[in-house]
Subunit: 450 residues, 2 copies
């Protein structure tokens, strides 16, 4: 029942575009949802995409533009004049309009706002432009249905009717006092079932979860998930109702945050995708690769400092990989668990002391197991004198990496950097480096012949 | 406006529980949302938690049980007899009831179903137990409002009234024919605004996105996100309406999948959290640590095979870390991008050939940059004869790791394993191992004195 874009379909569309066959194109697009048409635009060149868009209703076109991936939308919008863009912006929800305008040069943005016929929409947009995009105010939309507490159900239905065109999804009607302060809400279900002349004051729900404009969007996401909300009203510090955030925007926030975390862990900087240009991909990959390389070259300097030891016992070199990779792996595992617990604030969390104590005990177990495995290997290759060196080094490396894996994300989080970076290649390489230093120091200390 | 659990609050509750002070407890819990009470239960022992739960209404208790984290709920539910559990299950949405019962031993499950007074609920649950939990059928709930196409708005409102208690959130009323086949829907907003005697046949929306019971939940999540749906109807192959999936369940699916991916990348097996017991954490960490260790010991064997070469040029050992970590890092970066593109099926995707070609070009750039950096370092430490060995090895390692990072997730995805595993420590170590083999082979080949 859902649309799948094929090469054949795309060829057909391209042929119709080249032939200027408006009838076919209009008929074809009529059968698709805007989100599907967005998928088609990705595959067309700018001229073809603009032509296709020009054949559609402005409100469909607006939804298509909203659905486009930001990275692609920017380039596409750049080909529009403010006169061409304004009719689409007119049709968008205020939050989507602001998202789009925020990506544009200031001049284009101002011109488009000036060209809007719907002055309420213009005012909504100007209001929303004030907020950072990572707080509730930057995510909310101004479109909502609100009603005074001293009205009745019939008046409420009238209000919905007047707002119906503007507010695409009505989950609830918000109840406010004369000063616009949020008092509660009435669900749409309740309105359907209520008597026509029932007083709003008698039927509204006073127990309402609202968020302030300055709340970080990640916190809003958590609240909406925790309380299973479809929409959450946004208020200012005086409790005045300013807007609402709907669940579809929160789904986007959650998806983006997960992608950010995975990119941070994977050592990719910036929001990059597989189908970006190779130049964008290289720019995303190289910084962390080079940071990792510099770390490893520092390890190389350490190893070089022990050249005479290596000359005497060449087998020492064989354990460089396990020391390095174990440190890195333990560091990633520990940091990931801390990151996960930071982003999930249900229940009480451990104090730093408790965390470190638990980390210590766990590291002793993990370190002992890996140390014994590697120690046995030294016997296997006939280097029993390395048993304690390798075993003790691994135990120390696991301890250190667990400690670093616990501390680093907490520290990054404190100073406002995505803590998932602590699982990335730079930290991994740092663990690697420290591990190798420890290894050679233990070797030097324990082996009489060095 | 939202509740934050503090140590002081918890102490107060515990004291009231110990004193059996029902009045205080009831009053306190009355002010909280069920999701907040779930957070409190985490911190109580089983006896206290059960006592607190027994003071609350069964429908509040049911919601609390639904909100509990699965790992903790299992242990808690184990203390219930089927007679104690049934009244809670009675109050749950069918999908939540099935989730909970699926975790229980078969006998308890059957007994609870037998004890339900609401036979419709029992039938719903039995229906849903047939489905795997990772397909649409396993995620859907039976509770929904549906109406025959030949009725009018007034009859529709009556139907909503009758279902109101059962169906917590009504987004739309589904329209079916006499055989129960899904024809379309009417949004609640439309019902509010329609004339009482308007015919459903005249006002319903025929353009409806539905999913079949066998669709994987990840696909359902994608569809709901793409089309911004609050709820999606679930049908069987004949198009008969069987249930619906609401957006809050999809939010959970998305969150869980992101957590799974991050755990796979981080080398954690099973769903583990920071506050799990140390035994659970060790069990989650050790398998991958040991797998990584075995890989590194294989690398050790390779290095040992080149002992005489190392004896002659000890500086060779210094570059083991950069060879290993660069391979690992490039592998993770590449695999992560592939995993991301696999989970995002908008637009056309590349063919395997195109992917490999792009990977090749990118790897040449990345490899050349990292190779030149490390090559310069050989000059810095006065080992110019290692320039081409290290540079060429890094270029090869980046090429190989990019290739592996592209192929492995595609392969894992094909055979139904979470492709994010390809960014995990085992694959990273494999890249490490291959890199070191390549390094020593190139060294042997290029250096005349070996």
């Amino acid at each position: 029942m859902t649309f799948e874009l094929t090469k054949e379909y795309l060829d057909r569309i391209q042929t119709a575009i080249d032939a200027g066959d408006e009838t076919t194109l209009r008929a074809d697009m009529d059968e698709l949802y805007p989100a599907d048409i967005s998928g088609i635009l990705y595959e067309l060149d700018t001229t073809s995409a603009r032509y296709l868009l020009s054949l559609l209703d402005k409100n469909v076109g607006a939804e298509i533009l909203v659905n486009l991936d930001e990275s692609i939308r920017d380039g596409f919008i750049a080909s529009f004049t403010s006169e061409e863009l304004a009719p689409f912006v007119e049709e968008m929800d205020s939050d989507d309009a602001v998202d789009l305008l925020n990506e544009q040069p200031v001049q284009l943005r101002e011109e488009v706002i000036g060209l809007l016929n719907d002055r309420e929409q213009a005012r909504f947009i100007i209001d929303l432009l004030h907020y950072d995009e990572d707080v509730a105010g930057g995510l909310m939309q101004k479109e909502l249905v609100k009603i005074q507490v001293d009205t009745n159900v019939n008046q409420c239905i009238e209000e919905i009717r007047q707002q119906a065109e503007n507010v695409e999804k009505v989950y609830a009607v918000y109840v406010v006092d004369e000063a616009g302060k949020l008092l509660g809400f009435v669900s749409l279900k309740k309105i359907v079932l209520a008597r026509k002349y029932a007083k709003i004051a008698d039927i509204y729900e006073q127990d309402v979860v609202a968020v302030e404009t300055y709340r970080p969007v990640t916190e809003v996401a958590e609240i909406m998930q925790k309380y299973d909300l479809d929409a959450v009203p946004v208020v200012n510090v005086q409790g005045r109702l300013l807007g609402r955030i709907t669940i579809d925007d929160i789904v986007d926030v959650i998806t983006e945050q997960a992608e950010d975390d995975i990119q941070a862990i994977s050592g990719l900087s910036g929001e990059v995708e597989e189908d970006d240009t190779l130049w964008v991909r290289a720019k995303a990959q190289l910084p962390w690769l080079l940071a990792g390389a510099v770390g490893s070259l520092m390890a190389a300097t350490v190893i070089n400092g022990f050249q005479s030891e290596l000359g005497k016992i060449a087998a020492l070199a064989a354990f460089i990989p396990i020391i390095g990779s174990t440190g890195g792996n333990v560091g990633i595992q520990t940091a990931s668990l801390i990151v996960q617990s930071l982003s999930d604030s249900s229940g009480l969390t451990y104090s730093l002391g408790q965390r470190l104590l638990r980390t210590l005990v766990l590291a002793l177990v993990n370190g002992a197991v890996v140390g014994l495995l590697a120690g046995s290997y030294t016997l296997l290759i006939g280097e029993p004198r390395l048993f304690s060196v390798v075993g003790l080094s691994l135990l120390s490396v696991v301890l250190l990496a667990s400690f670093m894996g616990t501390i680093t994300p907490l520290l990054l989080n404190r100073i406002g950097i995505n803590p998932a970076v602590a699982s990335g290649p730079f930290i991994t390489t740092a663990n690697d480096l420290i591990g190798i230093g420890v290894y050679f120091l233990i070797a030097e200390y324990l082996l009489a012949e060095l």
